[in-house]
């Protein structure tokens, strides 16, 4: 029984080490709100930046791989980028633009908009990656 468990763990380890890239899933608007006691504007902008950093890191790892190795992972990473872009456009930006009579988070909304441009730039790069 013990040997079987070890085999199972070994198989799982192998699967994970040769499988797809680590899925990047960043906090939703509600999650950021829960983790923030205050300064929501800054927290949302920081969350957008941190998420970008994680995705961009995965992209750089992918680029370092051989073309035949990265085919599957490319699609998965693309969907991660797309999901996070949608999250920023549909959750973060409307919240930032509506807070405090639409005047409280002007700078942070601009920052998040700029991060969306960077996400899209990476996504385009990912599209062009063979």
């Amino acid at each position: 029984m013990m040997v079987r468990i070890r085999e199972f763990i070994l198989i799982l380890t192998l699967l994970f080490s040769f499988g797809a890239h680590a899925k990047v899933e960043c906090p939703s608007l509600d999650e950021v709100k829960k983790q923030t006691d205050d300064d929501l504007c800054e927290a949302l902008s920081d969350a957008a930046e941190n998420c970008f950093a994680q995705l961009n890191y995965e992209l750089e790892l992918l680029k370092a791989k051989k073309p035949n190795e990265r085919k599957k992972e490319r699609e998965s990473l693309k969907s991660d980028y797309q999901r996070e872009i949608d999250k920023l456009n549909n959750q973060f930006l409307p919240e930032l633009k509506s807070l405090g009579e639409s005047a409280a988070c002007v700078d942070e909304a601009a920052e998040v908009e700029e991060w969306v441009i960077e996400y899209k730039r990476d996504l385009m790069e990912l599209d062009n990656l063979r």
């Binding site: 800054e42 961009n56 005047a103 988070c105």
Partner: protein, 220 residues
Amino acid sequence: MNTVPGPLVERDFQWNQRVVTKKYSAFFNITILFAAGLIMYSAPASAGKCGRGCQQSMDGACTMEPRLWRAAIESRFTLTSCCRSPQYNAQLRSCGYFPSSRSAHMTGQAVDIKISPKNCNARYLQGIGFPPVCPHYHHGHCHVQTRCGNAQTASRARERVRHQRAPAIRSQSRARISSGRTRGRSSKVSTKTRRSAPRSNYRSISEIPWYEKIFSEIAR
């Protein structure tokens, strides 16, 4: 920016305790007790350094926007937070909250007051003696800050984001990545990676600026 006296450390402490107990279940009681111990130990320490009114801000000074402070005190609403110190941010983090290092509370440009959500607006607050402010209501309080964004500051904010991805940072990261995770590959691949990786900023989660800021704060 003046040194501001007042009884806010105690209020901050009470507020922090309330937030903590509201957030966590019994499972985390030990963590909470530990955090409360930290608060009890370090809040008087900060107060000792800064006087009774305000905690230590990022630059080490215990200051706050004087007009904002005066208005907040004269309004007689309950204040829940004023100047934050890196230590206080560390306390919040130990309780599972993640305050931004760029918080207006760190520079003394914000104060949290207890008023009803419908009164948390610039017009009402200016009517009761506040300077021009950009307030917004969340987490049961009105966050009142004097720093209001406009087209010019928004443009600077955009520039800041672009700067985060400056070529110098990219090249550093490229070198790190090619010497790190790609180690063991042929040198040809590494060279190719260096050439073909035009926009890499970060190597790992610990290099994300948000984390870097926190670690540098803790180290202070």
